[in-house]
Symmetry: C2
Subunit: 168 residues, 2 copies
DNA sequence: ATTTAAGGTCAGCCATGTTGACTTAATTAT
DNA sequence: ATAATTAAGTCAACATGGCTGACCTTAAAT
């Protein structure tokens, strides 16, 4: 019996299975970022710019502090990429009227176009994977990856509207 | 009706769902790498070292070329981190007897210990997620993430032994 | 009036990716 | 046997994007 554990208790997780998870995540992330990287290079941007563009697009009027909480990088690191994105007119900022210390970040039209180009490649990748595997697998994927994320940040990944069922 | 498409055709994937996938992958990867990064810092290593240690541990006697194919970085980039790992006695190399141009890489005992320490944190994360979600979700996770990986590399993620079923 | 919070800035350091040009040694093909 | 290819390594230079630390301004909260 090379692997007693798995034969005794199906709830005991085999190292093999856990390592498979680690590797899937590595390879998936590696390939998932490759296409956007190529597009970004045309503009002289990098992956850090992409993350900012993505999350500003996803959260219009987001503040710098909130963006930092998502990215988990320092203010100084963010400032570099955010600065170039504002300067190059991909992102605009305006003061929050209710607290003028806050700056609300939004994609410009130009920024929105780039966001769409970048996100389209990644959505296509997911669309194919989802189609090939089906709704049940997608739900499993969603639940497992949620479990990988630190609990305090799970709520960030919001299915923003529940899908309508049938009818239209 | 704000979202006609999803009501008409359940096979039409909503942008919302696709973006959720993108975000899950981002957050999961972010948190999944944080603990190892902290351990590596104690040794003066970074994430790049981790990847090398992981895949050499996973593929004893791997060649440099094969390692490059997994990591998809340049030989020069690899050389830097691999060089320090060999110098610090975490990895050993020996010539392949059947083709002495090839160098076979293996973890030393010291390297194996670090590999285990690093991988344990990531396995614990997966173990919890797997336990919380169940076998069906895990299978869905596995299939979806496989679909995200470029086809030519899917075979790399091998479930090396099929689990025994019941009995012990 | 003081303290705190949000945001920004300058300077410098480090890790890790890149290109490009070359070298050496071993194997394979002609 | 010679030539070509392959595996590995090396040196130099550069870019990106993290980091720390010190410090400033403005606005809000106490």
């Amino acid at each position: 019996m090379a692997d007693l554990k798995s034969n005794i208790n199906p709830l005991f997780l085999r190292e093999e299975d856990l390592r498979q998870g680690i590797e899937l995540l590595f390879y998936a992330y590696r390939d998932f970022t490759a296409e956007p990287d190529a597009i970004l290079a045309k503009w002289g941007f990098g992956r850090a710019h992409h993350r900012v563009i993505y999350f500003v697009g996803r959260n219009p009027n987001i503040t710098v502090t909130e963006l930092l909480a998502i990215l988990k990088i320092t203010k100084q690191s963010l400032s570099r990429v955010l600065g170039t994105l504002i300067e190059d007119d991909f992102i605009s900022q305006r003061a929050d009227p209710s607290d003028r210390r806050r700056k609300l970040l939004t994609l410009t039209e130009k920024g929105g176009e780039l966001e769409r180009e970048l996100t389209t490649t990644q959505m296509a990748r997911f669309a194919r994977a989802y189609r090939e595997t089906g709704a049940e697998a997608v739900e499993g994927f969603r639940r497992v990856l949620s479990g990988i994320i630190n609990p305090e940040d799970r709520a960030r990944v919001r299915p923003r509207q529940k899908p309508g069922r049938g009818r239209g």
